[in-house]
Symmetry: C2
Subunit: 305 residues, 2 copies
């Protein structure tokens, strides 16, 4: 029998391949109904920003959360996952800009504004952000309109001024004035937490799950979002640029507070264990079906790259 | 009896006031369900970018196109118009950035990156773009989910890589290498045409009009989009910064081709008259109800600021 951990790794890999293929197909040179033309250089920059062989954790969460409710939701969950990945990648493209985090490397490759230019990177991000909503609403996403509307709304709120974009603004402000513990929690809940929470909730929305299940998935998403950020802060302290494929130690260098910096590494390790336990408890009602997402929580807490 | 032209001006003004009030209400400090917090400085930048007393032509088109089909669509058309205005204003905020058109003034006020900073302007644009889809999908927009889905899809395609964002990429490329007449037509259809076409089509979608009516409105939108751009090119040649509240003569200074530059001012004036005639003919099936949109075509063609 395959161990849960091996099964998790298989699924992470096969889901990522499916997401990559879906995104590649969506970003061909062909126009869709209502489009006029896709300028070649901009399209190429968009592909650079999104077809980058990432782990595709957020789409994975959408797909596996939907799978909790049965096997019939794989196709629309993949499309919604691809849409969410467009949002995630747009945020990376914009965050890397000189006016923001000014990063030249992302997963070992030149960032979009380095490979192309700043204006193109801004427009590539804008295009990816817009494409996300296109994908959810498109007829190829086989979901009831009621479900599409719920997804558009939840995604917009997770990504917008009250979620991820607002979190990036708080992150930039934190360079000027280090936030207190409460401020860090809010910042991280918005900047990275909101999309991860949405990913898990989106699986329940795709599956048209009841309010209770939707709320469980939301809480599971919040829990692993916290673990993700703690692991990230630990990594930023302990790893080097070669392992990460991007600049590291930057948060500390800029004087940004993290909870790890405030409370120490031991506290962080303990907290990560507790969060994995919480995630496991939240998934208990799903029985055996929850095994992959329990494994996911462990992976998120223990990741070292 | 009020003349059509006076009636048009009344409606343009009252619709703009309604749009302004709607946007102001949407951009309060209060969070909506699913949002975590709205960072004050970013919210203020977003408000600066969108609550600027513009003519609100695109929302006006949504509202008046919907009114062709009866009086019951005013409330949702206003919401959809406000969403569209968020897209328009996000594009202005991003286009004004130093890496793009590098403009310091917009409607006589400092642009967002001048009043705040570049990073905040990027995030304000991202937030406005995201908010547009939020507004369409939100429960306060009283439309069937089927109609919301159609609006999200059409808006995303009008605004994305195959529409407005792509058009801005072509516009930047045009500074390096002047496009031929065909290239100019594509660029303008994408950069300004797509949103104006969407505005008119959206009115028909909101009213759940039949395919034929939707197509008429699309064509009306394309026609006045062409007129809008020609009038803009004429203005850029002939007006001064004081009238426009922004830098002018920039297109010519950068060597960008316009159809006016290629074909001359007399040609442009004739073409504008012909486009108004075409718009009028497209509206004929709507009888008296079409009078406001006929007037709108005249206004768009003759505007001198």
């Amino acid at each position: 029998m395959t161990s849960p951990s091996a099964l998790f790794r298989q699924r992470l890999q096969s889901n990522a391949a499916a997401v990559e293929a879906t995104l590649a197909a969506l970003l061909s040179g062909n126009t869709e109904a209502g489009e006029i033309a896709r300028p070649e250089r901009l399209l190429s920059a968009v592909r650079h920003g999104v077809l980058n062989g990432g782990k595709r954790l957020r789409p994975f969460l959408v797909m596996e959360a939907a799978a909790l409710f049965g096997d019939g939701f794989a196709a629309p969950a993949l499309r919604v996952g691809a849409a969410l990945e467009c949002i995630h990648c747009y945020s990376l493209v914009h965050d890397d800009l000189p006016a923001m985090d000014d990063d030249n490397l992302r997963r070992g490759q030149p960032t979009v504004h380095i490979a192309y230019d700043e204006a193109t990177a801004i427009l590539a991000g804008d295009s990816l952000l817009t494409l996300a909503f296109d994908i959810v609403a498109a007829p190829e996403t086989m979901l009831a309109d009621r479900i599409k509307t719920a997804l558009v709304l939840a995604l917009a709120r997770a990504a917008g001024i009250g979620g991820m974009a607002g979190g990036q603004a708080l992150d930039l402000a934190a360079e000027q004035k280090a936030p207190d513990a409460e401020g860090i929690v809010t910042l991280q809940a918005m900047k990275t937490g909101a999309l991860i929470r949405f990913a898990c909730e989106a699986g329940a929305i795709v599956a048209d799950a009841d309010v209770e299940a939707r709320s469980l998935l939301q809480r599971y998403g919040e829990t692993i979002g916290l673990a993700f950020q703690l692991a990230d802060d630990l990594l930023d302290l302990t790893s080097d640029a070669a392992t990460m494929g991007k600049a590291t130690g930057k948060d500390a260098a800029r004087g940004k507070g993290t909870l790890v910096a405030l409370n120490g590494q031991d506290w962080a390790e303990e907290r990560l264990n507790a969060l994995v336990g919480e995630a496991e408890a939240l998934l208990a009602p799903f029985g055996e079906r929850g095994a992959i997402l329990v494994e996911t929580a462990r992976f998120v807490a223990n990741r070292r790259s």
